[in-house]
Structures are given as structure tokens and as C-alpha cells.
Amino acid sequence: MKFTIIALNTFRETMRDRILRVIVGVSIFVIVISKIIGELSIGQDLKILVDFSLGTIDIFGVVLCIFIGASLIQREIDKKTLYTILSCPMNRWEFIFGKYLGMCMTLFVSTFVMGIFFCSYYFLMGGQVSLDLVGCIVMLFMGLMVLNSVAILLSVLTSSSVSIIVTAITFFIGRSTYHLKAIPQFSDSATLNYLTNIMYYILPNFNNFDIKEEATHALTIPSEVYLYAFLYMVVYSSVMLYLASLAINKRNL
């Protein structure tokens, strides 16, 4: 179980990263001011608080993933810290899985801190914290786990800067997969249709984790939505981590 040692160390590394504290601090500030912005609307202040806060938790989690997760492996290769670690009796996949788990732990803590703050603040402002609201935050976290696995794969394959950019692009396309699916309706080009179809199935579909709209309007979310998102997260992340393990196994350090 060497990956647990790597995971705990990665967690400690990322928790001591200044970016994390800045991001969590800024997101809490945004959640606080969202109430003030909400007061500009008529009777919609709590809805705007929910909308703004969930968006903030989502975006700042993605920023963490992009700026910390996407350079996690490459930084180890560049700084050569990997040399003393991989010369220990450990498989390379354990290292990859450990790094992934460690980063997920950090994402969990940051999402948890932001989520707890938001729910408490929302409750104090007179809102009702429903299970689906909590479920929405859990779904955002699962989406971050998928993005993290993509970031880890890219971090093995490319330099830190390229992997940061590509992870960000992947996230934005992954959030627009419904538009991607709709492109063939407006184009006769077979190649374009073929390409958009491939992208639709290969790129992660982050819409599976996005129930912010429903949470904002206090709609009931069927349990199948959670189950499907969970299974999608497990399968997609496993494939990404498997590919990352294959890539690092082939790599001469």
C-alpha cells in the first residue's frame, strides 16, 4: 500500500501550497459578497447567493485542479524528487495513484471548507439547506475528481505549462459537450461531424456533475443522477489513471 504514503505526502505538499490558501480565501470572500449582490435583486437574494456560491465552489475547485494537479507529476520529474522515490520498491502505478489520491484529498478538504462555509452562511441568511444542495456540492467534487485524473494524465505526458493549458481547455470543452453534440445539426461536413462525435465520447462530460441549476431552484434530483455521475467518475478516472500509469511506465526518467 505504498500509494497511501505517496497520497498522504501529496496531500501535505498541496495543503502547504500558498495557492490553495489564496483560492479558498478568495472563494469565501466571493460567497460573502454574493449576498450583497443578491440584495440588488428583488426577492431573489437567496437564489443568487446559492447560484453564486455553487459557481464559486465549482470554479475555484477547477482552478486548484488546473494549477496544482496539472503540474503535480511533471514537477516531480523536473525537480528530480522522483529519483529517490521510484528507486524504492514501488510500482510506478502506485506513485500515480498515490499522487491522484493525495490531490483528491486536497480537493475534498477545499470543497468541504467552502461547502461548509456556504451552507452555514446560507442557513444564517434564512435559507434551507436541503440534501440536494449538499448533493450538488458532492457532485461538483466528483467532477473535480474526473478533471484531476485528466490533469494527472496530461502531467505525465507533457510539460507543466502545456498540461495546465490543455487541462483548462479540456474542462471548458467538457462543460460544453451538449453543444459539441449539436454541431452536426448545423454542418454538412462529414469530417467535422466525425471529429465532434469522437470528441464528445472521448472528452469528459462535466455536465453529468452539474446540477447547480436544479439546486438553485430547489428542484428534486432523482437518485439515478447521483449514481450515474458516480459510476461515470469511477470509470473515466480509472481509464485516465490507467493511461497515465502506462505512460509513466514507458518513460525513461
Binding site: N9, R12, E13, Y83, T84, L86, S87, M90, N252, L253
Partner: protein, 307 residues
């Protein structure tokens, strides 16, 4: 004597940009005996670090085999046998020296209950006891080197693979590391190390291998490789007649004279004797006659093909 490390026809070819191939190691066959200190020398880019990366599982050979205590380096179990100090070791800078060693001790599978004691012992051994709670970020190069040595020793391995263990150390630090290497050998460990400081290699090693352009040039016991016959003699004389100089000039390889002192170098002991007689007949006094024998550096220069 058992074999600690063995490579058989080891070849490593790297594929660079645009598919350009670069041969880093070619057909390297070596045997390191158990309990010995083995020096692996060669110029920069000769393939030393690549070979070490193969032995530590960081690189894969293109062809050939490498074994640690009879276990293939491709098998993770081989890494249980080794302690590795990379050249300019890098650590997580946010960790303290104590936390770093604890991390490596856990990766090496040392039982939790023994870790604290082992970490304290090691920090004491490498002279970092007072730096236990300091972040590695603030460490000097020498301190990082000591910490690197401590992490290589954390599980008392049978084989130490040390890449430039003496680089970055001050004279006292170098002496301490040399003594540590000898101590490890006395405890029965085998040490495979690279160094550009050939005097240290000559002082410490039982056997050496010289590589150049990825190929093995020479390999064997130092005394068997180095020609121990006199290769030159330095003579220092003074108070001679000026007429002697012309006679001495014909004998020697180099000559430096100022006022009535002279320093000459001749290439055989016979010529040294003749020079001594010339000096004495010319009324001079012989101050010193120093014979030089080949050392590892001479051997290296003689055999290394350069970059």
C-alpha cells in the same frame, strides 16, 4: 565471492526529438563483487548516470540485462537491496529533514514503531541532528548531500549506489563521507559509486571501471590497471656551475632555473641518476629527488577517449 551487481551487454538508446537516436550505453558488461567498493569513472556524458538509472529502475535498457544480487532490475524486489543517492539529491522542500527521512523510511517498509529511532540515528550519523526540524528548503548543497546519504542508508541496504557522493561537500564533509563509505564496507555492504575526484576513487575503491562514450574501456582491480613503475622524477638542485645547465637540458623533459637553483623533470630513474651526477660534478647540491608513479588520474587521461 558472490556478485552484487552484474550487467550483461547493457545497451541504452534514447530517442530524441525528430526520432534522432542517441546511444548512451553500449554493450556494457560489468561485475561488482559483494562487499567491495567499486568506482565507476568516465567523463561527463560517458554513460555513468544512465547506467545508474538502469540499476535503480529509473530507465529501461534497450537491450541486455542488469541484475542486483541475482534479481533483474526490472523486478521491483531488486530495489529492496539498494540504497540510492542521486547526483545533487532533490527533496520535497516543504518537508523538514526529519519528515523527509520518515517519508523514505515508510516507503522502504520500516515498521512504524522503529521509524523515529531510525530517523534520529541517521540524522546523528550524518551530522544533521540539529537540523531535524528545519525545512529542506533552507539547506545548503552539502546538507542536502548528507540528507541524501541518510535516505540511502535508511533501510540498511546490502548495496549502495552513489552518484557523485562527494560533490558539493567541503573538505571535512568529504572526509566524513569517505569514512562512512569505508564503514559501510566494513559492515559488509557493497558500494558502487561514481566520482570525478579520482584521488578519492583511488583511495577508496577495490575495483574500477572506466567508461567512455557509453562503452567500457577498462575494468579491474586498481593495482592491476595502474602501471606502478616510475614514470618521471623531479630533481631540485642548487649552487651549481652555469655550465651544467646545457648538460641537464639534454637529459630532461622540463627544466626551470632561476639564479642558481634548478628544477628538472626526467622520465626514467637512470636519467635521474645521471642528472644527479652532473649536478654534483658541477659543484651543486641536490635538494630533492622525487619519483612519480602512475596514479588513477594518469590512467584515466591515458585511457579516456574524451568527449
Amino acid at each position: 565471492m558472490k556478485t552484487a551487481i552484474e550487467t550483461k551487454n547493457l545497451t541504452v538508446v534514447f530517442r530524441g526529438k525528430w526520432g534522432v537516436q542517441k546511444r548512451a550505453v553500449h554493450n556494457l558488461s560489468l561485475k561488482v563483487s559483494e562487499g567491495s567498493i567499486f568506482g565507476f569513472i568516465g567523463h561527463n556524458g560517458a554513460g555513468k548516470t544512465t547506467t545508474i538509472k538502469i540499476l535503480t529502475g529509473l530507465c529501461r535498457p534497450t537491450s541486455g540485462e542488469a541484475e542486483i544480487m541475482g534479481i533483474s532490475v526490472n523486478n521491483v524486489a531488486a530495489r529492496n537491496k539498494i540504497g540510492f543517492l542521486p547526483e545533487n539529491p532533490y527533496f520535497y522542500e516543504y518537508l523538514t529533514a526529519g519528515e523527509s527521512l520518515t517519508f523514505y523510511a515508510r516507503l522502504r517498509g520500516i515498521p512504524r514503531k522503529d521509524i523515529n529511532k531510525r530517523v534520529d540515528e541517521l540524522l546523528d550519523e550524518v551530522g544533521l541532528k540539529d537540523a531535524k526540524s528545519r525545512a529542506v528548503k533552507g539547506f545548503s548543497k552539502g546538507m542536502k548531500q548528507r540528507l541524501g546519504l541518510a535516505q540511502a542508508m535508511v533501510h540498511n541496504p546490502e548495496i549502495y549506489i552513489l552518484d557523485e557522493p562527494l560533490s558539493g561537500l567541503d573538505p571535512v564533509g568529504r572526509r566524513e563521507v569517505r569514512e562512512k563509505i569505508i564503514e559501510l564496507k566494513k559492515k559488509g555492504s557493497s558500494i558502487f559509486f561514481t566520482s570525478h575526484v579520482l584521488a578519492d576513487v583511488e583511495m577508496l575503491c577495490d575495483e574500477v571501471a572506466l567508461v567512455s562514450q557509453g562503452e567500457l574501456v577498462s575494468f579491474g582491480k586498481i593495482d592491476e590497471l595502474i602501471n606502478r613503475e616510475v614514470i618521471s622524477v623531479d630533481i631540485h638542485g642548487e649552487g651549481f656551475e652555469q655550465g651544467c645547465l646545457k648538460k641537464l637540458e639534454k637529459l630532461c623533459k622540463h627544466m626551470v632555473h632561476k639564479d642558481n637553483t634548478v628544477l628538472i623533470t626526467v622520465d626514467t630513474e637512470e636519467k635521474a641518476q645521471q642528472a644527479k651526477e652532473i649536478l654534483e660534478k658541477g659543484g651543486g647540491t641536490l635538494r630533492a629527488m622525487i619519483p612519480h608513479r602512475e596514479n588513477l588520474e594518469d590512467f584515466y587521461v591515458r585511457n579516456s577517449r574524451g568527449v
